[in-house]
Amino acid sequence: MDVVWTLATAVTLALACALLGSFLALRRTLLLGDALSHAVLPGVVLAFLWSGSRELLPMLLGAGAAALMATLLLELLQWRFRVHPDAALGAVLATFFAAGIFLLSRFAGQVDLDAECVLYGELAYVPLELVSVMGVEAPRGLWTSAVLLAGVGLFVWLAYKELALVSFDPTFAASIGRSPRRWSLALMGLTAAVTVVALELVGAILVVALLVGPAAGARLLTRRLPQMLLVSALLALSSVGVGYGLAWAFDGALAGWIAVVAGGHVVVLVLLRRLRKAPASAQEPFAAEQGDDHAQQPR
């Protein structure tokens, strides 16, 4: 039964991450999850210093507050000071993480805190903590990821048009009254929430791998946005499935194997594309014709 709980949690989380990650990939902010998972550190340390305990709730609140601040700072850098997204991500990640390290060393005496174990969860422990909701008993991790998936799913369902619009052509979006800034903030805020909660459940590596891998793979495989969302979900499922198979065959941490497969997909796809592209482009040098053409293509 434990295995089923673990896999169900991993799958739910992977789907939520794949959906979110797809939109992050389109906005070229795929590393947002990575940045946020580092940026929570100062929040965790301060929460520990303030509460003096390792209770989960203060830790989560501290992490959440730090992630929120990082998100707002990113927003400010990008929209107010027109810093390029990847530069902004790098700057925020480095500053926040450094601040966390500084706090840790400065208060080393008082902090009996290995941030890794306090906030950074482990997939294998998920089945250990059962919670019953409305008479149904399941791991807390599964309930939490189900809520995340529902939230992300609802957001993407409702805001699909707006997300596509503001990512594709922000100026036009603004001209029809859809604020690119507001929608970008909504997407980042949701990513921050998912990252913090998932960090605590399954650890940083797996969260980042699930946000990046399936989305990046789907981006390579598809030509249209709806297909991309579908394929990213399939890649998320296969990451968990294949990862489980590998963990069973070779032993080792399930989370690690899932992360390896999620990332491995992308590497394999890139290589395959290279292989396929080389001969194809030699055959049809002018696939996208230039100049103009009233002479339309026969289809």
Binding site: R178, T222, R224, L225, G291
Partner: protein, 256 residues
């Protein structure tokens, strides 16, 4: 009837002034050109008209109302650079976005919207490319796709930023044809455009801009040597070309 009214419109980017005290009234149902040298504030004026930049002074009214109030009656076609060309959308998806303004959160396009997008594609001669990606098209074809998206908006006022910049001859014909078609339907069309001879030949009204308003009025009155000197300084070769086109047009009018 007045479609657009600008009163003392002033826009600054930081400390840099892009438009200074522009006051003018643009009539409805006309084909209107905005002309001026690079950096004159032409794009800024269009952006101000859709409420995309904040005015530091003055006021703009579209159909007597604030720009934010009449978004659904206005279609804005930005200059080409703002788009993510690698985005995974087909030509048809892009044109369909012209209908998004009237769809609420969570709503999906319906049959009528698909038909509208299809008609718009046909108007610009791109119906055979509906399922291709933007990145697979030539510059002129891409421009026609954005023109189709603007048409799908079914607005009353069209604001187009350099739709004819850097396009091939066939696309130029398509765009000019669409502009005239829109005028025929009684729409107001404002176009940033550089080619003074096309303006002299085809447009009704012209706004000459160079940070300040140089002149605004019917084409034959505004495109005079004195005004063009005011806007451009002395690039005389171009100016005498314009004078020639205008003279031809006057004669055509005189002889019926």
């Amino acid at each position: 009837m007045i479609a657009i009214e600008c009163r003392d419109v002033t826009v600054q980017y930081g400390h840099r002034v892009a438009l200074w005290g522009v006051t003018c009234q643009l009539p409805a149902g006309r084909l209107i050109a905005i002309v001026g040298p690079n950096g004159a504030g032409k794009s800024t004026l269009l952006r101000a008209m859709v409420g995309l930049v904040r005015l530091s002074r003055g006021e703009i009214r579209l159909f007597g109302q604030a720009p934010e109030k009449v978004r659904r009656r206005v279609s804005y076609m930005p200059q080409r650079e703002t788009v993510d060309w690698d985005f995974p959308l087909t030509v048809f998806d892009v044109v369909l976005m012209g209908c998004y303004g009237e769809l609420r959160l969570g709503a999906r396009p319906r049959r009528e919207h698909y038909e509208r997008a299809q008609r718009a594609l046909e108007l610009v001669g791109m119906e055979h490319h509906a399922q291709r990606l933007l990145s697979e098209l030539s510059g002129g074809q891409q421009q026609r796709v954005f023109l189709a998206r603007a048409l799908a908006q079914q607005a009353e006022l069209y604001l187009m930023d350099e739709p004819l910049a850097g396009v091939d001859a066939a696309t130029e014909q398509v765009v000019l044809h669409v502009l005239e078609e829109l005028r025929r339907q009684g729409k107001t069309v404002v176009v940033v455009h550089h080619d003074l001879s096309t303006i002299a030949e085809r447009f009704d009204w012209v706004v000459l801009l160079n940070l300040r308003l140089v002149a605004c009025g019917a084409v034959p009155e505004v495109l005079t040597m004195a005004n063009l000197h005011g806007a451009y300084g002395g690039r005389l070769q171009m100016l005498s070309d314009v004078a020639q086109v205008l003279e031809q047009r006057r004669q055509r009018l005189r002889h019926g």
